[in-house]
């Protein structure tokens, strides 16, 4: 049902005896589909329409001067100006919050705008931020190139090394950041440790859970303060919108909301409508992404031309145990290395793929494939790439929701013998 508080905000059940069973039970009782369709939406909508209208208005009218005074003095909840809010934005924010088990959500123009929104509202000159080093390269770039200009110091430590993260903490540390799973290595962070480290030192923690989505992982249940997503990916799901979202408690989001109203990295009414529409099939799509990701990863692992597969659903993955204990599924992203291949031989594999299209991004219904070296790290120094684990023979595939056999057959012909 649409009352999310009772169903989705329930604290995570601790069951150390048999965590996988607990996860199975949790998934059995989850009814994300009903929330995906209805949460955040009024039962009776404007014009009695079954779907919410797209409000393109940039501004909202007041009946008279007294209404403005009442609005300000009584703190009335209503629209004022498009940068501060939009009825469609409220719908999709509430829907995302329900799915995430968060009090509130804040929608942005893109995933980067969402992450930057948190950075810029939590951090001041002199503050420090620590993040695990496997991450989206633009997040790293923002910290080192831009936050640095505002007097914020960034430390990156090896992914999953909590001792190193603890060592890097000092009295100026204000924010701990990680992705989980990380991109493109799909390392999975122990979120309980991560959140507890923040709590111990009273430092805010943020997880970019774009690759997991709330279908597979809900970091707030582990005590994480801010959850960020590039909603362009699985949440929108159709490769046809740009959006970002930050979720958390009302209190934690208050300064972030304020800054968004000032700086204005807001989403567009048409995009928020498409996002809300995309979320209606969220559960079905995620089931397919998970199934395709797992099957493709298993196929690749058994293929003689593949040196290594990074996928948290594989027992061979370093973080498989923690992934199994805290995730419901492992998503559609699969990263792998071609055996004895230089960059060109690797590119040849990518070029032979017929179904997945060569493009950056991930999480849409259409499968996408890319070679990180060319797509994201072409201009990076070789020693940096080595340090970040971006190898010449690495391929990243975002499995869409196509037929599993079709995807495997296609990869098989692309790999050759």
């Amino acid at each position: 049902m649409t009352t999310t508080e009772t169903k989705l905000n329930s604290p995570k059940e601790k069951n150390t005896a048999d965590q996988s069973q607990a996860n199975a039970d949790k998934s059995a009782t989850r009814k994300l589909s009903t929330d995906a369709v209805h949460a955040g939406e009024a039962r009776q909508k404007p014009g009695d329409a079954i779907t919410d209208p797209v409000f393109c208005a940039s501004t909202y009218t007041f009946a008279d001067s007294q209404s403005i005074i009442d609005f300000i003095e009584q703190g009335q909840v209503r629209e004022e100006y498009g940068r501060y809010g939009n009825p469609g934005e409220k719908v999709v924010e509430a829907k995302l919050a329900a799915l995430e088990g968060a009090e509130e959500g804040l929608l942005y123009a893109s995933g980067m705008a969402a992450i930057v929104g948190v950075f810029m509202s939590v951090l001041n000159a002199g503050d420090e931020v620590i993040f695990f080093d496997e991450c989206y390269h633009r997040s790293r770039e923002f910290c080192y190139k831009h936050l640095a200009r505002f007097g914020v110091t960034t430390h990156q430590v090896k992914t999953g090394d909590f001792d190193a993260m603890a060592d890097a903490i000092n009295e100026n540390t204000r924010l701990l950041v990680s992705e989980s799973p990380t991109n493109p290595h799909l390392s999975v962070i122990d979120l309980e440790k991560f959140a507890n480290l923040g709590k111990k030192y009273q430092i805010d923690s943020m997880i970019d859970a774009t690759l997991a989505t709330p279908f597979n992982l809900r970091p707030i249940e582990f005590g994480v303060d801010y959850v960020a997503h590039s909603a362009t990916k699985y949440l929108g799901g159709h490769n046809d919108l740009l959006a970002g979202v930050v979720l958390g408690s009302r209190e934690k989001l208050a300064p972030v909301r304020n800054l968004r109203g000032v700086t204005g990295g807001i989403n567009h009414p048409h995009s928020m409508y498409l996002l809300s529409r995309g979320l209606k099939t969220f559960e079905l799509r995620m089931q397919r992404h998970n199934a395709n990701g797992q099957a493709v990863a298993e196929f690749l692992e058994s293929h003689p031309r593949v040196e290594r597969v990074y996928y948290p659903g594989l027992e061979s993955h370093r973080d498989h145990a923690i992934a199994k204990s805290q995730m419901h599924g492992f998503g559609g992203l699969v990263t792998f290395l071609i055996k004895d291949a230089d960059w060109r031989a690797t590119a040849d594999v990518v070029d032979r793929v017929k179904i997945a299209r060569i493009a950056p991004s991930l999480g849409g219904v259409e499968s996408l494939i890319e070679q990180p070296l060319l797509m994201s790290y072409y201009e990076a120094a070789p020693e940096d790439r080595q340090r970040w684990g971006i190898y010449d023979n690495m391929i990243r595939m975002s499995c869409g929701i196509e037929n599993t056999g079709d995807l495997i057959e296609d990869l098989n012909q692309a790999l050759g013998s």
């Binding site: 049902m1 009814k31 589909s33 009903t34 995906a36 369709v37 209805h38 039962r43 079954i50 779907t51 159709h238 490769n239 046809d240 498409l274 529409r277 209606k280 099939t281 559960e283 079905l284 799509r285 397919r288 179904i355 299209r357 493009a359 991004s361 849409g364 219904v365 259409e366 996408l368 869409g400 929701i401 196509e402 037929n403 056999g405 079709d406 995807l407």
Partner: protein
């Protein structure tokens, strides 16, 4: 490639100029010609539009036809098919058809001198006997609406062939996921794309699909002349919806099967119409011509009167009271007062649409939530307080 993969990729090649993985929405009403009278493939949007071509190619592919037309609504699609007829021609249609089709046949086509007979298409001998020398078109729905009757499409196609009559099938309720009438011998497949194809209650659209180019050319001539084409935004949203078509229809069918089983056992439900139930008269045919499920529509008769059925449809919290069907949101309605109100009262009675009949369009919500909702509403409507 399998259905699901084709639904995502066929008709949706990345944009040639920009590489955009999702094609642009061409809002243009007209297209510039390099030289007078030498269009580059598109000239005026009523005659053709790249965004519309994309969705037409996808729909044709999924119905295993050679070409498709995307129209402004399901009714404009049916109307476009009927434009093949001339004064003096006769249409034989099934009895369990959409109310709007009934109205088109009886109150619009009659003005053009086209005669209509309705006959039960599940009774093949009687149905065939209704064919006249001037019959030019047979029009059926399977499953039918709202009684979920199942017509043997292949058998009717044989009859149509024998008499040299075109067979049109309104495949809206089954969708190409479950049934592909062209492969069973039908000549024309019609869809209200408003329903499962777009699937999100935010598009009005229709489609016609054929397997014969000459027939397509005749249909295209009619559509281009009369102009009820699908808008570019609706084409885009339909294309987007089709990418999850198979997931939605299979999941919605699974949920509907469970609801049908629940309702059959309910003491206050007199009858359940769902082809997935073994007790349904068309179950054996449905098993043959529907693959993967039996659809996400069902109707049932409340053990009660008009007022009680009205109360029921007004009492659900999750099922919303609205006509239409086939979307992610579950809907409920009373055919006698809503979708089939355009039938004459005596025809309604003759065709088994009782006052206590309730029709469900099952969406993507969780089956337990939907079951609870129905159980409570039945209790409220019948004054029965026992709610388990």
């Amino acid at each position: 490639m399998k259905f699901r993969t084709r639904a995502i990729h066929v008709g949706n090649a990345p944009d040639k100029e920009t590489g955009a993985v999702v094609q642009p929405i061409h809002m243009a009403s007209t297209f510039v010609m390099p030289a007078a009278g030498e269009p580059t493939g598109y000239d005026y949007s009523r005659s053709g539009n790249p965004t519309r071509t994309a969705v037409e190619v996808t729909i044709a592919e999924l119905e295993e036809g050679c070409a498709a037309l995307a129209l402004a609504s399901g009714m404009s699609a049916t109307h476009a098919a009927m434009l093949l007829l001339e004064s003096g021609d006769h249409v034989l249609a099934g009895t369990d058809i959409y109310g709007g089709t009934y109205r088109l046949l009886h109150n619009i086509l009659n003005r053009s001198g086209v005669a209509v007979t309705l006959a039960d298409s599940t009774e093949l001998a009687k149905f065939e006997a209704a064919i006249r020398p001037e019959t030019k078109m047979i029009w059926i729905e399977s499953p039918g609406n709202p009684l979920m009757s199942v017509t043997d499409i292949a058998a009717v196609a044989e009859i149509a062939k024998k008499h040299g009559v075109l067979l049109g099938v309104d495949n809206t309720l089954a969708s190409p996921v479950l049934t592909r009438p062209l492969t069973l011998g039908a000549d024309i497949v019609m869809h209200s794309a408003t329903k499962y194809l777009s699937g999100h209650s935010d598009v009005l659209g229709g489609a016609l699909v054929v397997k014969d180019q000459e027939l397509f050319d005749r249909l295209y001539f009619g559509v281009n002349a009369t102009g009820a084409v699908m808008s570019p935004m609706s084409c885009f949203l339909t294309t987007r919806g089709i990418k999850t078509l198979e997931l939605r229809v299979l999941e919605q069918s699974r949920t509907t099967m469970k609801l049908a089983e629940f309702l059959v056992e309910h003491p206050l439900v007199a009858k359940v119409n769902y082809p997935g139930l073994a007790i349904h008269p068309g179950h054996e045919i449905a098993k043959r011509q529907m693959t993967g499920g039996f659809g996400a529509m069902l109707s049932f008769e409340l053990d009660g009167n008009f007022e009680q059925a009205k109360k029921l449809v007004e009492s659900t919290k999750l099922f919303q009271l609205a006509v239409s069907l086939g979307a992610v949101e579950s809907l409920i309605e009373q055919p006698a007062s809503m979708s089939h109100a355009s039938y004459a009262a005596e025809d309604r009675a003759a065709h088994g649409i009782s006052d206590g009949l309730v029709r469900l369009s099952v969406g993507l919500e969780h089956v337990d939530d939907l079951k609870n909702d129905l159980e409570k509403a039945i209790a409220i409507a019948t004054g029965e307080s026992k709610v388990s």
